[in-house]
């Protein structure tokens, strides 16, 4: 009896954000350790972990934007479409128009900004449901991708490939291969960008006036308004930043795969939402943490790696596992919150 009470108090003492964050981090470490124990070799190498980072840098960036929108009480499912559009536009620009990488970066930022401004205006100033707006945004972006170019193709631009192949070695994590040669562990440029985004957004949300405003608006927009926060502007900015990050994420995705295709980043919005939820961001708004989102992406991709290395037919098993995981976390959230509410009463 006494133990139960103690646990109850401890949970009550934690803020919502910290409680959900703690759950996420524990789940991630349990999963990774489980993978090391049961799957063995592959997961023991540091490079496996870095490969997960390399492959999911774009997802980390978009998921951070998604968390921001979700903290503010909205949602944006257009991120995958925007990423695909960015990759296709950059590919066409680099290959057919002979552009340079700097121009491609500008294009991706421009596309992200354009989507952000339109969607933000519609959501914040015309009070349209964010889901409907971004659903239309998603279909628009996917359709536009096909209009820009139908056939998928690889980019052969030399400058771009040089950037794409740049590897940043991580000292201290290299391994010695069978021939006795030292193989350094490496990450791609995208990972650096992703980590920068995580750090900047974390600081923004924790210490800046604007960042606290996001939480206030998501928690209770009425009282935020009474505190003198410009609710509409905050909402607008959250969508703007999310779409901008989707543009950057799209470029990083493009940097990783090196091709343009209309079917790129299929389901990325889903993965971003799932990672945010797994990372402890509440759909109802006001609760969330960027560090949690980071671990959410890692958990999600670790699961995918486990599924694929277990030899299951990946194409459909990944969908099912992610959906199941999302479902479990959603229910955990709703149960945790219901219990907390009861305890508070």
């Amino acid at each position: 009896m006494t133990e139960k009470k103690k646990a109850g108090f401890r949970i009550q003492d934690m803020t919502d954000t910290n409680l959900l964050l703690a759950i996420t981090i524990i789940v991630f470490f349990l999963m990774y350790i489980g993978a090391m124990v049961f799957q063995g070799k592959g997961f023991l190498k540091a490079q496996t972990f870095f490969n997960i980072l390399n492959a999911n840098a774009s997802l980390i960036i978009t998921a951070c934007g998604m968390s921001l929108v979700m903290i503010t009480g909205g949602i944006d499912i257009s991120v995958g479409g925007v990423a695909a559009l960015v990759s296709m536009c950059c590919a066409v620009y680099l290959d057919f128009k002979g552009g340079n990488v700097f121009g491609a970066v500008l294009i991706s930022l421009g596309i992200g900004l354009a989507f952000g401004i339109v969607q933000g205006l519609l959501v914040a100033y015309l009070d349209i449901q964010p889901f409907i707006v971004s659903l239309a945004g998603m279909f628009f972006a996917r359709g536009m991708t096909t209009i820009v170019n139908t056939a998928p193709f690889n980019v052969a631009n030399e400058e771009f490939i040089a950037v794409k192949e740049t590897r940043i070695t991580v000292p201290g994590f290299g391994t010695v291969n069978k021939l006795g040669k030292y193989v350094p562990a490496y990450v791609e440029i995208g990972v650096i960008v992703a980590l920068l985004v995580v750090i900047i957004l974390f600081c923004l949300l924790r210490w800046s006036r604007l960042g606290r405003g996001f939480y206030a608006v998501g928690g209770n927009s009425q009282s935020a308004l009474m505190l003198g926060i410009n609710v509409r502007r905050t909402r607008f900015l959250s969508h703007l930043i999310c779409s901008l990050l989707a543009g950057i994420g799209g470029f990083v995705y493009f940097l990783h795969v090196g091709s343009g295709s209309a079917s790129h980043a299929m389901g990325m919005e889903m993965n971003a939402i799932a990672s945010s939820i797994i990372g402890g961001t509440m759909l109802t708004g006001g609760v969330g943490n960027i560090i949690g989102t980071f671990f959410g992406v890692l958990s999600l991709s670790t699961i995918q790696n486990i599924v694929s290395s277990a030899g299951l037919d990946q194409a459909w098993w990944t969908g099912i596992t992610i959906a199941a995981m999302l479902c479990i976390f959603l229910i955990v959230q709703s149960v945790v919150m219901a219990r907390k509410k009861k305890a508070l009463k």
Binding site: I75, L122, L126, F131, F139, T146, A315, W316, A323, L330
Partner: protein, 363 residues
């Protein structure tokens, strides 16, 4: 000048018509119809031909609209209820259709993926698919109603997993049914030149209308959508009404799934009913129903579904690629939604007033 003003007057004066909800889909339909009439009148040509079995078959763009609009109309029925009750939309209908279709094929084919004749009567397969689709609807409904998760996020789960589940039901094989009697549901009944889906849709519509007329379902759904807590105080169970609306949508999905697989006599898990959720939501929006829940008009939604198909067919006729279609539809959605926001209405009201005012001053 005066002529222009008279035209404006005509547009704004029959305010009764303008305020009616069904005005929106009818206006959109007329707009599209006139556009097609001007652009290319051959759009309306209907020819009587004979299909491979020697039965009379009507073909033409209008028949395509009747044919493919019908499955959308069936979905629109369920989607309208879900929208009205929960204030959100179910985005998993496409994936759920894949599941229902997969179940139907699984039952009909039995263990063999290329049977010479069907292993079970179609009605049995259909009923099993109904049960399965309603179970998935119940899953969505439970998440929304009892766990209080936003409808679109709750259905996102099935949206991701649905097609994978559909593939898993048939062990990722692509069963083909060669029996021509199965193709009737998505094709033509021998001797009747009008596509069968139209009749199926009509049956669904009539049943729905009867239910709405003789039960309190419509009233309860609307009251839950308008104000959940006050309908609870009035003795309704809002959670159950929401749950029920998702289960009913599951039933609609099963019917649409039957039509879909019957068309192909097979299934393609990743393509079947792709993007149909967008069309179904669009049909509800075009019917003038608020996407935030509350009051609904079933007739307008059903008409909206056919208008959407009209739009799709028109776009196809102008050689728009099927992959690029969503971009155009997205623009339509945004325009519709923006027009239906209170701010836009206020703005339009102001314009109408100022026009009337200027008229008076002229007079």
């Amino acid at each position: 000048m005066s002529q222009a003003r008279k035209q404006v007057k005509k547009k704004f004066n029959p305010a009764v018509l303008f305020r009616k909800q069904i005005f929106i889909p009818i206006a959109a339909l007329l707009l599209l119809a006139i556009f097609n009439l001007i652009a290319d009148p051959s759009f309306y040509k209907i020819t009587l031909g004979y299909n491979s079995a020697g039965d009379p078959v009507l073909s033409g763009y209008l028949m395509t609209i009747l044919d493919y609009g019908s499955e959308l109309a069936i979905l629109a029925i369920g989607m309208t209820l879900v929208t009205a009750a929960s204030g959100g939309q179910d985005i998993s209908v496409g994936a759920a259709i894949a599941i229902a279709g997969s179940v139907i094929l699984r039952v009909l084919c039995g263990t063999d993926s290329r049977p010479d004749h069907m292993q079970a009567p179609v009605i049995v397969a259909f009923l099993i698919a109904c049960v399965v689709a309603m179970l998935f609807g119940a899953f969505n409904g439970a998440l929304v109603a009892y766990f209080k998760i936003q409808p679109m996020v709750a259905t996102l789960i099935l949206f991701t997993a649905g097609r994978s589940i559909a593939a898993w039901i048939n062990n990722n094989e692509l069963p083909i049914i060669s029996d021509p009697s199965f193709a009737v549901y998505g094709g033509f009944i021998p001797g009747i030149p009008i596509p069968t889906p139209f009749f199926i849709a009509m049956v669904c519509v009539i049943i729905t209308m009867l239910i709405l007329k003789f039960t309190n379902l419509g009233l309860y759904t609307q009251s839950v959508g308008i104000n959940e807590s006050s309908s609870k105080l009035n003795g309704l169970d809002p959670a159950f009404i929401k749950f029920l609306s998702f289960v009913l949508l599951g039933l609609c999905v099963a019917v649409a799934g039957l039509i879909k697989v019957s068309r192909l006599s097979s299934i393609n898990y990743s393509v079947i009913a792709k993007d149909i959720e967008m069309d179904a939501i669009l049909a509800v929006a075009l019917g003038g129903n608020s996407l935030g829940g509350g009051k609904f008009n079933m007739t307008a939604s059903i008409l909206g579904a056919y208008v959407i198909q009209f739009l799709t067919t028109t776009l196809y006729k102008f050689n728009v690629q099927s992959d690029a279609l969503p971009a155009y539809k997205a623009v339509v959605v945004i325009v519709l939604v923006v027009l239906s926001t209170p701010k836009a209405r206020e703005f339009m009201g102001k314009i109408a007033k100022s026009l009337k005012g200027s008229e008076r001053s002229v007079a």
